[in-house]
């Protein structure tokens, strides 16, 4: 079996491609079910960064759908459609963030109970309490390797014949993570203690890992995230920090905007404080999870060294 998994014959590839096409048709069309006889596992990532990691581990034995992937939409206000419900009901592996960020996933799963479906809830995987204030767990550099390992475990349990294949892909994932870890370490050595501001807590875990200090009042970040107006006192605090160049960069959430964040953005631009666009979901196309995080760190490096703004990742 090992030889087959690592050196698949050509006919095998063709067969898989056909099977994937069949599954794709099944997913978009009728209720043909995600667990087709071909062994291709239907999987869902509630956010496209999780879908990306599923694909990196599952490779050709997994057909992955991402629920939230539009970089110009606020995921916090996502509305479920019936097609989403159908994709989730047919999935055998689901990866979701938890912490209320993708609450609709839990509802969809309980709406179509299935004993064969495995759900990886990242909050539970990391044993975080419901009171954890910042739900953007994928920005924590330690999160995805743990998620990847859990995905590998579940896929191997579902398709034991391909266990070695999944294990090899996990090993490759881990080794591709090494440059990112090195990049974080190098950044930390150079910029630890630098002060930045944010409009929302989206990248806060990464900023902490990078040794940066986020001077933004937490209330303001949480209010913007939750879609309520921040207090004028907190807005004034942040405005003063930007105007007085107390912060070296403004991490601007391009996906959750309001007149307050837009005003902060133009204030930063006029004050000459560089802007770094951060995203809730992975910008597509052109990025995988690792290169996305690497691009964010690169954008921060540019901001702190040359005061260069990165208004979007493309």
């Amino acid at each position: 079996m090992r030889a087959t998994a690592q050196h698949p014959r050509r006919w095998h590839r063709v067969g898989i491609a056909l099977a994937m096409a069949v599954v794709a048709v099944g997913l978009s069309g009728c209720n043909s079910g995600g667990s087709s006889a071909s062994g291709v596992i239907a999987a869902v990532g509630a956010e496209n960064q999780y879908a990306n990691v599923i694909a990196q581990i599952g490779g050709r034995y997994v057909h992955v759908a991402a629920i939230m992937s539009n970089p110009s939409v606020d995921p916090h206000t996502f509305e479920v459609s019936t097609s989403v419900a159908q994709v989730v009901s047919q999935a055998r592996l689901v990866v979701q963030n938890g912490l209320g960020y993708d609450q609709f996933m839990t509802q969809l799963e309980s709406a179509s109970p299935s004993s064969s479906r495995r759900v990886i809830d990242v909050q539970h995987l990391l044993t975080l309490s419901d009171a954890t204030p910042n739900p953007h767990l994928w920005y924590k550099p330690t999160t995805m390797p743990i998620v990847a390992a859990a995905i590998e475990r579940d896929l191997a349990a579902m398709a034991p014949t391909h266990a070695n294949y999944f294990a090899a892909r996990l090993a490759r994932f881990r080794s591709s993570f090494a440059p990112l870890t090195a990049q974080i370490r190098a950044f930390r050595a150079r910029f630890a203690g630098d002060v930045v501001a944010t409009t929302e807590p989206v990248a806060d875990y990464l900023l902490t890992a990078l040794g940066l200090v986020d001077a933004t009042p937490w209330r303001l970040q949480a209010d913007v995230m939750n879609g309520i107006d921040p207090a004028p006192e907190d807005v004034a605090t942040l405005q003063t920090m930007i105007r007085d160049h107390h912060v070296a960069a403004l991490c601007y959430n391009a996906q959750v905007t309001s007149s307050v964040t837009l005003a902060l953005r133009s204030l930063a631009q006029s004050a000459g404080v560089p802007i770094v666009a951060v995203y809730e979901t992975m910008p597509e196309p052109g990025y995988d999870y690792q290169s996305w995080m690497s691009a964010e760190i690169h954008a921060l490096t540019l901001a702190l060294t040359t005061h260069h703004s990165t208004t979007e990742l493309r």
């Binding site: 110009s72 939409v73 606020d74 916090h76 206000t77 996502f78 509305e79 209330r219 913007v224 995230m225 939750n226 879609g227 309520i228 107006d229 921040p230 207090a231 004028p232 006192e233 907190d234 807005v235 004034a236 405005q239 391009a254 996906q255 959750v256 905007t257 309001s258 007149s259 307050v260 964040t261 005003a263």
Partner: protein, 296 residues
């Protein structure tokens, strides 16, 4: 006064914009509101808030300023209500109700679509309940121009408007073009509602439109005084709302502040209660509590 005005109040740009925009909006709403109460068109005013809701939600979808949507939606709704037949007293509530329902349906659609297609956060909260602390300073000139247009128009049609409010037959006999006057007033009303929506949201804008005039008409005996008193009460409620919302930041250890709209509406209710008490003192036996008497 330190206990009343918490730190940073006088230097805060957001607060200054809120106070200035709030002033202009409150005055305009109060003046239009006096005529609305006297003409018995409060329900039409409320229906226009729902149309303004749809307009505000549509503005987010189209990517234009909320004020444009609030006012534009309101004016379209006023036109629709006029076309359906809001002029005739008989069937007026039905026409108003039909437009109201359709508008809220559209608002639901627009809010759904904008949640699905845009990065805008807190749209529903802003459209329904207002967001004066997020209003940009550039809104002030826009609001002032609108206010000027509303007040000039009202001044121009004030006489025939008052006459037709008093007695439709008398106004017709005096040669007042009832339909034109009614339509002009509906448009003015729509603009005023749209402006109030900026301060306390589309759904609550009736409170600013009807509340201060209703209080003023309980105590003032002349139209001129009622207008002045209503404007003063409206501005007071708006400023008290802004002040308390600002101060509420310091009320809790968590520094979680409370919304402006709540305080504005609370102040309006208190004003109305005070006005009712005053009226009972001055006039022991009110003839008909619901009928304004100020314009005789």
């Amino acid at each position: 006064m330190g206990w009343l005005f918490e730190p940073g109040w006088w230097a805060n740009g957001t607060v200054r914009t809120a106070l200035l925009v709030g002033f202009v909006v409150a005055v305009t709403s109060a003046v239009v509101g006096i005529f609305t109460v006297m003409r018995g068109q409060s329900f039409a005013g409320h229906a226009l808030t729902d149309v303004a809701t749809a307009g505000g939600a549509g503005a987010f979808l189209a990517g234009v300023a909320p004020l444009v949507g609030f006012v534009g939606g309101g004016v379209l709704g006023a036109g629709a209500m006029d076309a359906i037949g809001v002029q005739r007293v008989k069937g007026r509530d039905i026409a108003t109700g039909v437009v109201l329902g359709a508008a809220m349906g559209l608002a639901a659609l627009f809010l759904f679509l904008s949640a699905r297609s845009s990065s805008a956060s807190g749209t529903t909260q802003l459209v329904l309940f207002g967001s004066i602390f997020t209003v940009s300073p550039s809104t002030l000139p826009e609001v002032s121009w609108l206010s000027g247009a509303v007040l000039v128009t009202l001044a121009a049609v004030a006489r025939p408007l008052l006459l037709s409010s008093l007695s439709v037959e008398l106004a017709a006999a005096r040669g007042v073009r009832l339909r034109s006057v009614g339509l002009i007033f509906m448009v003015v009303l729509a603009v005023a509602v749209g402006m109030s929506a900026i301060v306390i949201g589309a759904i609550l804008s009736t409170a600013l439109l009807i509340g201060p005039p209703a209080s003023a008409l309980r105590v003032a005996r002349r139209v001129g005084r009622a207008v002045a008193l209503a404007a003063g009460l409206g501005v007071l409620a708006t400023w008290v709302g802004v002040l308390f919302a600002y101060d509420s930041y310091y009320w809790f250890p968590s520094h979680r502040s409370l919304p402006v709209s709540f305080f504005v509406v609370a102040a309006i209710v208190v004003e109305y209660l005070v006005a009712s008490v005053l009226r009972r003192r001055t006039r022991p036996a009110p003839v008909a509590a619901s009928e304004p008497e100020g314009w005789t």
